[in-house]
């Protein structure tokens, strides 16, 4: 079904794929986060090996007007390294859990990247000039005796090949006992929040030795632990508001003006559960793996194991829209529990105008829902559909009975091919989809 994400004639095409074609994927190469910056010109990925790769969109050239700007490597660096906490006998993975860009304020670009324990602020800057013409050194590079230098020579700035440098400007460490699952830059552009399983901290971007704890749900007795924080995000416009989701499928909205510690929520979002459908799996599949505000700030979207829900911030008792991602998995929950897939954390994202939402699934499928037309589409990220500008064919999973041609049965789905991370360009119909160790970029068909 065409038409999702744009008008009726809308279709998605393959644009690029990054990464190796190896059958044997090294764990370090598994992409763990994907994020466009505010203009969409830069696309950052983080992987399990602690590395960040940033792609930059090429300016559209007059020679090839049909090929929208391609994304090419701009910078790559090792953000985090494996560590060992000897005191607690804890191995700290270098896996990048999240990357969040800061809005651009000068020529350099800044982003926050985090692993389980430490958040880092990286500055990515360009250098395309070099000072030349010093007369302070000999031919062989040794410093000349100052008394031998008789003329004053002012160095001249000469162009050089573009060099992109990444340097860590701030390291925000030692504030999280548990594993960081989210970071979110505040709309004031001065502060950001970081959330782990039980606590949320507020930081100032300039200050690394202090952070404020704003949410603490750790019970006095750990035996009484019933839920953990799964995701958190700052409101896009109101710098005093943030939300956090839980493993029980609830979302709490907090207002930092209400108190220093936001343990008491301002709003509590929960969809009442049908008691007759309660099962062993209920709580596990209701656990929210991602929460994202709409660009407008009026709605938020949550992802649980089987569905995506859109909530109106003014209505706490139920979502305004619910989209089934892969309802056919309901009859597979036993085996999904046994192979741990039921604990997979899928993310979700909005398009720039908030008219469409996207999330991933298994078998390298990803789903898009158009909120206006109520149409949905399933597409696949695979090397087989990777001819330049090839139109992506909608995919369909058959749930029982006769399987039509081109459909795939639930039992044939590859549960190792999971699309957990996707990102949508903030202004255009360009999307980035992480399929294990490959990054796919799709865009809308020109004409």
């Amino acid at each position: 079904m065409a038409g999702v994400g744009g008008g009726n004639d809308f279709q998605w095409c393959f644009s690029q794929v990054k990464g190796a074609i190896d059958e044997d994927v090294a764990e370090a190469d598994i992409i763990s986060t994907v994020e466009f910056n505010y203009t969409g010109d830069l696309l950052a990925t983080g992987d399990k090996g602690g590395r960040v790769v940033i792609f930059q969109r090429e300016q559209e050239s007059k020679n090839r007007p049909l090929s929208r700007g391609e994304y090419n490597v701009y910078s790559t660096f090792q953000s985090h390294e494996p560590e060992f906490d000897y005191l607690k006998s804890l191995e700290i993975e270098e896996k990048i859990n999240k990357i969040r860009w800061l809005p651009q304020q000068n020529a350099a670009h800044f982003l926050l990247s985090t692993n389980d324990k430490t958040i880092k602020l990286w500055k990515i800057s360009e250098r395309d000039k070099r000072a030349e013409g010093y007369n302070l050194k000999d031919e062989d590079g040794r410093l000349r005796d100052p008394f031998r230098i008789t003329s004053l020579r002012v160095p001249v700035l000469m162009p050089m090949d573009l060099m992109v440098e990444a340097s860590p400007r701030r390291i925000f460490a030692n504030a999280h006992t548990y594993h960081i699952n989210s970071i979110s830059v505040n709309s004031d552009h001065e502060t950001y929040l970081s959330a782990d399983d039980l606590r949320i901290n507020l930081w100032h971007l300039e200050i690394t030795d202090r952070s404020f704890n704003i949410v603490d749900i750790k019970p006095a007795n750990m035996e009484e632990l019933t839920e953990v924080i799964t995701a958190a995000e700052c409101h896009p416009h109101q710098c005093n508001v943030f939300v956090y989701s839980s493993s029980k499928g609830t979302i709490r909205l907090c207002d930092m003006r209400a108190g220093a510690l936001c343990d008491r929520h301002s709003k509590f979002f929960e969809e009442p559960e049908d008691p007759s459908s309660r099962s062993f799996f209920s709580e596990i599949i209701s656990s929210i793996s991602d929460v994202k505000f709409s660009h407008s700030g009026r709605y938020m979207m949550t992802r649980d194991y089987l569905s995506v829900k859109v909530w109106d911030l003014n209505m706490e008792n139920r979502p305004v829209e619910t989209y089934q991602v892969h309802e056919y998995l309901r009859s597979k929950l036993c085996s999904l529990y046994e192979n741990d897939c039921i604990f997979d954390k899928f993310e979700c994202c909005w398009n720039g105008s908030d008219s469409a939402i996207m999330t991933g699934s298994y078998n390298n499928f990803f789903r898009m829902f158009d909120r206006n037309t109520r149409r949905d589409i399933t597409l696949e990220a695979s090397r087989e559909n990777s001819k330049p500008r090839a139109i992506l064919k909608p995919r369909k999973v058959c749930t029982g009975g006769k399987r039509k041609k081109d459909e795939i049965s639930v039992d044939s789905l590859d549960f190792n091919k999971k699309i957990l991370h996707t990102a949508w360009h903030p202004k255009e119909n360009v999307i980035a989809v992480a399929a294990t160790n490959n990054l796919y970029i799709f865009q809308d068909k020109i004409n």
Binding site: K18, L90, E283, C334
Partner: protein, 117 residues
């Protein structure tokens, strides 16, 4: 589940029965999955999705290796067999003494990402 053709041809009664059956199946795929799970693992926690999961989640990454404990255990149990790491990933119980072989090698990936290649 019967196909549409079958249902329209069959007499009304069995058509209704078939509908009821498939409705029951539809209503309880999760219940049958739950029954399947319980039959495989009868000892699975009484509390559905409760503390056990959360504790496991919070303890992710905990690896214990104490050379003192290890050597003492080796000395004490010269005759008996040393308890070996179970198949569960990273689950550390009180009796289990990790051996250097159990702990995964901490790899350092200071190689450039293949995405940049």
């Amino acid at each position: 589940m019967s196909s549409e053709n079958q249902e329209s041809e069959a007499p009304l009664e069995s058509g209704e029965e078939k509908q009821q059956d498939s409705q029951e199946k539809d209503a309880n795929p999760v219940k049958s999955e739950e029954a399947k799970l319980k039959s495989k693992y009868p000892n699975l926690g009484q509390k559905p999705g409760g503390s056990d999961f959360l504790m496991k989640r919070l303890q992710k990454g905990q690896k214990y290796f104490d050379s003192g404990d290890y050597n003492m255990a080796k000395a004490k149990m010269k005759s008996k067999q040393l308890p070996v790491a179970g198949p569960e990933k990273g689950l550390v119980t009180g009796d289990h003494i990790p051996t250097p072989q159990d702990l995964p090698q901490r790899k350092s990936s200071l190689v450039t990402s293949k995405l940049a290649g």
